[in-house]
């Protein structure tokens, strides 16, 4: 009897938690399908009286949202690809290749984790301005090309590559790059997927840096475009909700598909500390 009460209590609490967690998101989805004005009706409506795609159509045809979606996709993909290559090379080298000053260098990189990115942003902006990269996609990608966190994550994983495997390849006459490309990368696949998901989601969701670097409406990423849209269309609740849905749908989908890797990354990172 007591057990049944406990179980009921637990599920009741979990149920309340789930409702509180999901209701803002559920309302967002529901409101995005409502005819104009219905989301701000009194008394409130939880579901649309009539299901409409007008706001999505508006966003695509009049607000150029496809362009911003492409911007976001391009930037997140490019940053992920470049940083994956650079971080995995460095992470592998810090784990398995001996060179003078290796430990000290790695220690210095880890120490840099203390410095918040915001400190670098003002001079970085001026630097990119000198290079003519402000208001370009490269300007957004550049600070994300390599990361200490990514190097750290790959290194921890690469430490478990058996030395014998690498030695055997060297005896067979494989070059170092060849070893990295056809032995190390496949071996590190799980951690690379984790890092890819982290980077893609992080870049997609990033706001401050693209807001600083991009000045042209045309180049805006989805979050920047959405914040900009809010300025003009703050009264169009349903339109803004449709915009929010489109902004977060791709990352939510990616997360649900690859959540095993994402959560493994957090657990791994946390336990190693």
């Amino acid at each position: 009897m007591k057990r049944i009460l406990t179980v009921t209590g637990l599920y009741a609490l979990l149920g309340i938690g789930v409702v509180l967690t999901l209701s803002p998101l559920a309302w967002m989805v529901s409101a995005s399908f409502m005819p104009t004005g219905e989301a701000t009706a009194v008394p409130p409506r939880l579901l649309p009286s009539r299901f409409t795609l007008d706001h999505y159509r508006d966003l695509v045809t009049r607000m150029n949202l496809v362009r911003h979606a492409l911007s976001s996709t391009l930037l997140a993909s490019a940053t992920t690809a470049i940083s994956l290559l650079l971080n995995s090379m460095a992470g592998y080298a810090f784990a398995k290749l001996r060179f003078p000053g290796r430990e000290r260098l790695f220690g210095a990189l880890l120490a840099a984790l203390v410095i918040p990115a915001q400190v670098s942003m003002l001079p970085l902006f001026l630097m990119l301005k000198q290079l003519g990269l402000v208001n370009t996609y490269w300007g957004v990608i550049i600070p994300g090309m390599a990361s200490v966190f990514g190097i750290f994550l790959v290194r921890q994983f690469a430490l478990s590559i058996p030395e014998s495997l690498l030695d055997a390849a060297r005896i067979d006459g494989a070059g170092e790059f060849r070893i990295y490309w056809s032995l190390v990368l496949p071996f590190c696949r799980p951690v690379l997927v984790t890092l890819a998901v982290f980077t893609f989601l992080g870049t997609w969701n990033d706001f401050l840096w693209p807001l600083i670097v991009l000045a042209d409406d045309d180049l805006y990423t989805l979050p920047v475009a959405l914040a900009n849209l809010l300025g003009e269309h703050v009264q169009d609740t349903e339109l803004m909700m449709a915009g929010s849905v489109l902004t977060m749908l791709p990352v939510l989908g990616l997360f649900v598909a690859l959540q095993r890797y994402y959560i493994a990354g957090i657990m791994g990172g946390a336990l190693k500390e």
Binding site: G17, T21, A112, L208, M241
Partner: protein
């Protein structure tokens, strides 16, 4: 890299380790370390909109920006707001995380993975998009929150418009957005507690609260330390929520340090002054990290 690999047979040899580290290292040094060093210099200059036009208008003013900072009421407001956000928001978020972790991880609960995923969803959402959504949730007349509270007989609150409620509103939204992350960390820690300890405690007649107090909490202590430092550091960087939801208002009550830096640096182009603001943030985060390494 292929070039470096080929070179290994040439008379001039670069150690492959260095060749592999070089690209990432160059990127980090050029686009992070160098700008950070630049920020130190920048904070000692009066870099403003005239200097953006031509660097010849730049003057070295030593600690001028820092002394101006100390006299700037806006800076103190931003610092106070940020401390409020951190001091109330971080414990709240961590408390919710721990509660959710205990629930999801409870022995009697099934479908743990489903609950874990659902609670985690807000973490991966786009901050700007959820800030937009919450702006409407907080709407004094039409918002979901006031409509729900109305059913309970609580009068309408102007969440984002009332100076007293604006920061609590942002705190609540941030807790909703973030708690799933630390929940995962807590779940990982809870799962590493050996079940035999709980069995022993139960044999000794320990109730659930006693088990929690004497078995779970002590074993979670290292995780707590890690989680608090990570959370505090993240919370000090508050920016997008006030930018989207309140623009720092009403009456500057949600102006944060990073928002102040952004406004000064990229809206008014007072980059020297903004660099000094950024350094205050750095010093705070450095101190927190030092405290953590001391405690460990």
């Amino acid at each position: 890299m292929t070039a470096a690999a080929e070179r290994s047979s040439a008379p001039f040899r670069v150690s492959p380790g260095i060749a592999f580290v070089a690209p990432a290292l160059c990127a980090i040094v050029t686009f992070f370390f160098l700008p950070v060093a630049g920020a130190v210099l920048l904070s000692f200059t009066d870099f403003d909109i005239y200097a953006v036009a031509s660097w010849r208008n730049l003057r070295f003013i030593a600690f001028g920006n820092y002394s101006r900072l100390l006299r700037d009421p806006l800076f103190w407001i931003a610092l106070e707001n940020t401390l409020y956000f951190v001091a109330v928001g971080a414990p709240l978020s961590m408390g919710v995380s721990l509660g959710a972790a205990l629930l999801v991880n409870a022995r009697l609960v099934r479908f743990k993975g489903v609950f874990r995923t659902l609670f985690f969803l807000p973490v991966v959402t786009t901050l700007v998009a959820v800030a937009v959504v919450w702006r409407y949730v907080y709407h004094p007349r039409f918002g979901l929150l006031n409509q729900g509270l109305g059913l309970l007989g609580v009068g309408p609150i102007d969440w984002l418009g009332d100076p007293r409620w604006a920061m609590p509103s942002i705190i609540l939204m941030a807790a909703w957005k973030n708690f799933g992350f630390n929940m995962i960390v807590f779940i990982a820690a809870l799962q590493s507690v050996p079940e035999s300890l709980y069995e022993a405690a139960r044999l000794d007649g320990a109730s659930f609260p006693q088990q929690f107090r004497h078995v779970t909490l002590p074993l979670l202590a290292p995780t707590f330390l890690f989680v608090s430092v990570i959370t505090l550091i993240g919370y000090f960087q508050l920016f997008a929520e006030p930018y989207v939801m309140t623009q720092g208002g009403p009456a500057n009550r949600t102006l944060s340090i990073v928002l102040l830096m952004y406004e000064q640096g990229f809206r008014w182009w007072n980059m020297g002054y903004a660099a000094a603001v950024a350094f205050v943030l750095f010093v705070i985060i450095l101190c927190l990290t030092l405290v953590q390494t001391r405690l460990r």
